[in-house]
Symmetry: C2
Subunit: 504 residues, 2 copies
Amino acid sequence: MVKQAKNAISPTRDEDYPMWYQEVVKASEMAEKSPVRGCMVIKPWGYALWENIVSTMDGMFKDTGIKNAYFPLFIPLSYLEKEAEHVEGFAKECAVVTHHRLEAGEDGKLVPAGKLTEPLIVRPTSETIIGESMSRWTSSYRDLPILLNQWANVVRWEMRTRIFLRTSEFLWQEGHTAHATEAEARERTMMMLDVYTRFVEEYLAMPVVRGRKTASERFPGAVDTVCIEAMMQDKKALQAGTSHFLGQNFARSSDIRFQNADKKEEFAWTTSWGTSTRMIGGMIMTHADDDGVIMPPRVAPAHVVLLPIARKEEDQRKVMEYTRSLADALAVRTYHGSRIRVEIDDRDTGGARAWDWIKKGIPLRAEIGPRDMENDCVFLGRRDEAPGKKVSLPREDFINTIDTILDDIQNNLFNRALAFKRENTIEIDDTEEFKALFTAPDENSIHGGFVMAHWCGAAECEAKIKEDLSVTIRCIPFDSKTEQGRCICCGNASGRRVLFAKAY
Amino acid sequence: MVKQAKNAISPTRDEDYPMWYQEVVKASEMAEKSPVRGCMVIKPWGYALWENIVSTMDGMFKDTGIKNAYFPLFIPLSYLEKEAEHVEGFAKECAVVTHHRLEAGEDGKLVPAGKLTEPLIVRPTSETIIGESMSRWTSSYRDLPILLNQWANVVRWEMRTRIFLRTSEFLWQEGHTAHATEAEARERTMMMLDVYTRFVEEYLAMPVVRGRKTASERFPGAVDTVCIEAMMQDKKALQAGTSHFLGQNFARSSDIRFQNADKKEEFAWTTSWGTSTRMIGGMIMTHADDDGVIMPPRVAPAHVVLLPIARKEEDQRKVMEYTRSLADALAVRTYHGSRIRVEIDDRDTGGARAWDWIKKGIPLRAEIGPRDMENDCVFLGRRDEAPGKKVSLPREDFINTIDTILDDIQNNLFNRALAFKRENTIEIDDTEEFKALFTAPDENSIHGGFVMAHWCGAAECEAKIKEDLSVTIRCIPFDSKTEQGRCICCGNASGRRVLFAKAY
């Protein structure tokens, strides 16, 4: 491997965090901006990660009884008018289809024709149209629960976009369930948050804080919104998943009624919950370093790349054969229920080849040269260690312990992120200290963190802090201890600490 | 099971084929029309089938080296102008996004606002935008081949829609590959047709005719289009997949150039190939009968439903326990590489319950009553046999042979369809006979078939037959024998027979 004086990514995290992120994504070849404003092209290496995320989460959903379905891309405009609260929320900035044909204009150029009597909105969420179906499908308590999920693309016209984190089109899943009782719907709300927690912590290796949103941060129309919040390396929070208990509000606006066992008509109790390609941005910002992306092994598109090295022509065939046979031996082994995913890179690009894989974040790189072959060894580098640190390992040991090595990387990534979150989560009781922490000494400084501070419960205090410092209450953590204190904003009495942070 | 004098589906295939199809889909709960014109809601039973189709085909694609990626939903209008041939083809009827915001108008109603400087088209295919990426990603022969596939939703504004067969929005995959040599691109074109053939025949149990499209039926811009054509039960053809060799045409319009090993610049050689949710319509029309859908076991959302029957309350717990333990024993068995997918239906809906599953097309129904339990037996019905024909089978035999039974159903469905296709494929040399076969005695009659007839090769003859009889040349079958004859239209000399049929 070529020695590099500098890191592979420039600028570094310390130099310019937002620019570092862009460069990391670019260098990884996971995705790129497209010619269509605000939309991204997800390249094979990024899409394979998404496929692993989808298949794992999808299996978890199905284990709880969820079934997938597919609803139309378009929403009639009148559906959005029904839900005034939505229009006030995210639905204002959306792609509006007004015509259904193209015709050649006078200058030969194509112009929109065939004006629609009612404009169609490209779904910013399928909530309203799923509600319409649920309304038609529900007449008796026997029809409940309805447990649906959809994997789809959605569009929200964003003015300022950042790849994976905020794009006009993104991929997501939205779950919608309808129940005969409040208790069952509340249980489902928490059940799905548990699934999200498990997935994000055990697969993406991102430790999270679980909690409840305040009234002002709640999803429009929700009675209760619970969430998981993760800490990025710039100490900002990223919401990695939300689950909403909608009470009977959504059923009322979508007319989801059923006859209960006593033949009385009631509105159903519903939930909704979602995660998106945004999680990928969160995963990158949790683990990536100044050499590029680091993929947690359980979701990595490939676990290991084999790099045959043979300068002399007479060695090439033998080294390649040895490499192929090693790949075959690895590919029948498993890690965490999946076959080991092996890549062979036999390109003739010198040291740049290993760096390409470091930037892509593959967990393991195994170099195989004539001397390794003679000793029946591989020369192994781990992505969670410095690029130069490599160890020679007997071939058989490598094959037999690859699952243990991968698990070690997975755990190491989680523990590193957990330590970082712990180091940067503090209790603050002094208002000036609170302000100072969230005030940047200069434009590019990484500052802030997760602050557990007292809050009196008043929306005014919450709004003032947001206004003054761009800091929000990320959640009221479930494990927040009951404790007497003074509101960090107004000094009034408070019974518990909440989680404050700047957020993506 | 309740005895029914009539079939479950009305009208029958003979009475009104198009209406029968609609009723079959409805009764199966696979999909339904949505409130959005021309778009469908794919319900869980239909979507689970699609998921099985996707995961199987996707594995086959990846085995040939294909990688998935994701491209934007929107296409800038100017991209379509670049490809005049496309605009002439299917792209004219499409959803046009002209605004990116909704605002409250004077009457408080929402109106489109934020007019786009350039309208965006909801992708009717991603061809042009994938071409743009390929152009940026290709500079040297070392960058080739590029082997991409995308699973996505696409929109083509259709005036007359039929669920699964022709909808404004549908789900599909489109593959696009770029190669350094003509030979490699031609080989890839055939390789993907082979994948389609294998999937459609071995999984959907639909026998197909493989062949080449005539110049007038070719994909716009293609040098060569190869396809697979299946026969529906009304004897019409349905194109179940196409693969295109695009020569250098597409590379020229998308500017996909590379430097070859001799440092000379060349245009790449490209292919594209696609299949869609339309296949589901084809699968239904191939196998369904007057009692509803019949799912080929290899793609069926569930293989077997267990129906506990216990009229007396004291039996219910015991029967249910027996049923659950049977389900557990079945679920660890496999058929064709997948775990046996088991449903338990313990609803208290009498005979309607079994009929629901017949209409859904589940391959096996196993009834379990107190007497079956005593004898340690199940009472088994196969969907490829008459609803009333059921056999008692010892529990252990059932568990141990379920894979063989499912395979027998899979083969039986294929062989039935193959026999039907053979019976209805004839050679015709007489023009009047040809006309008579394709002329309906009355509106609802099922007539026609696959006709192997001579064609001189003139586009005029092909056009005349299409004009007069709505019959097209589906393909020039690869196995069409070289043989001297007279064109069925003009009587001129012809060297081989081609496949004529009415088509979906």
